[in-house]
Symmetry: C2
Subunit: 201 residues, 2 copies
């Protein structure tokens, strides 16, 4: 399989961490891609018309896009332990992933505002709105941090990648200060080989 | 169950159409919500810290967010015919949904740029980049339009809601002109009761 990725994309990282945890890392050929919301990469667009990463080309030649879809696909290629097949455990894991991905969507949009958009066109209220999503979601995570211990699934992987992205792009936020239970969980989770070998930057 | 929604949200529409197709529409209590990326609604944030719709409260009191997660949950409450449980059919449906949701993500971001952001802070290159995602994804859909006939699943529902959103917010785009096969498919699909009763506007 080939995966189009970049080392700084937290959504691509979710897939690489999942592959690692499933014992599939060696089957993934990594293809660096320059996804950008304005300067679109024709080589990537030819694979994924949305021009986003991650994008996966399966051994059968099919293209899968969207990190959630790719992670679920990898899960079925592996032993399936990252997503429960049904029942309350499945919804718990998928809900956690959705919350973490929502943190990432907002954090990435706020970053585009400062890192991509010309300075004279930036809108502070937009950045505040996006970062308030991050803040509220972190508060929710902190309430649920006790449920995360010992879990290795697509929910905790997504949460780990979201927190890693905040460290990478929003170090000034010092998210640990207000979220000690989440920080304690992450300190251990981030040491997993799957996480340590995919740290951005 | 309660679903937080608005009649103009294409992601909420996916859930309502899915519920209708699954025979679950009467079990959904509709709660209007004012999701906004800048002026966040505290009542909605209390349910979903991301402040986004759709958000579902299950009969057990659990909160599910993200239209893909909600639709899959509804699918398991119903007879399951909207998402194949495994195999190539599952990946086909989820890939179609991801492409359609990508159209919507881009179209909604481009709309925020013109409908929400102050005029003096708008960036044409951003709008062009987002709408190029829509254009390229529509071209891909047109190539695959022959595969859509007769299918009622979360992939075709998402595609239908994406095309409906383009009609609603981007009528000037006249997407049918360049995509006759997609237009022919949609002309029939849009007449389904599930689609006709959830048309925005």
């Amino acid at each position: 399989m080939k995966i189009f990725y970049s080392v700084t994309s937290p959504f691509a990282r979710k897939c690489l961490v999942s592959a690692h945890e499933l014992g599939l890392r060696e089957r993934l050929e990594l293809v660096p891609a320059a996804a950008h919301p304005v300067n679109r990469d024709p080589a990537l667009v030819a694979i994924n018309p949305l021009g986003k990463i991650p994008a996966l080309i399966t051994d059968e030649g099919d293209v899968l896009i969207d990190s959630c879809v790719i992670c679920e696909y990898l899960n079925t290629l592996g032993d399936g332990h990252l997503v429960a097949p049904s029942g309350a455990a499945r919804w718990r894991v998928l809900a956690d992933q959705a919350l973490a991905d929502g943190i990432l969507d907002a954090a990435v949009l706020a970053r585009y505002e400062t890192a991509v958009r010309p300075e004279n066109l930036r809108w502070d209220a937009w950045i505040r709105g996006q970062l308030d999503k991050v803040t509220c979601a972190l508060a929710e995570l902190e309430r649920r941090a006790g449920e995360l211990a010992g879990r290795i699934d697509i929910g905790t992987i997504a949460i780990g990648c979201a927190l890693g992205y905040l460290d990478f792009r929003y170090a000034w936020m010092s998210w640990r200060d207000q979220h000690p239970a989440t920080a304690a969980w992450y300190a251990e989770f981030a040491q997993r080989e799957s996480m340590a070998t995919t740290r951005p930057g």
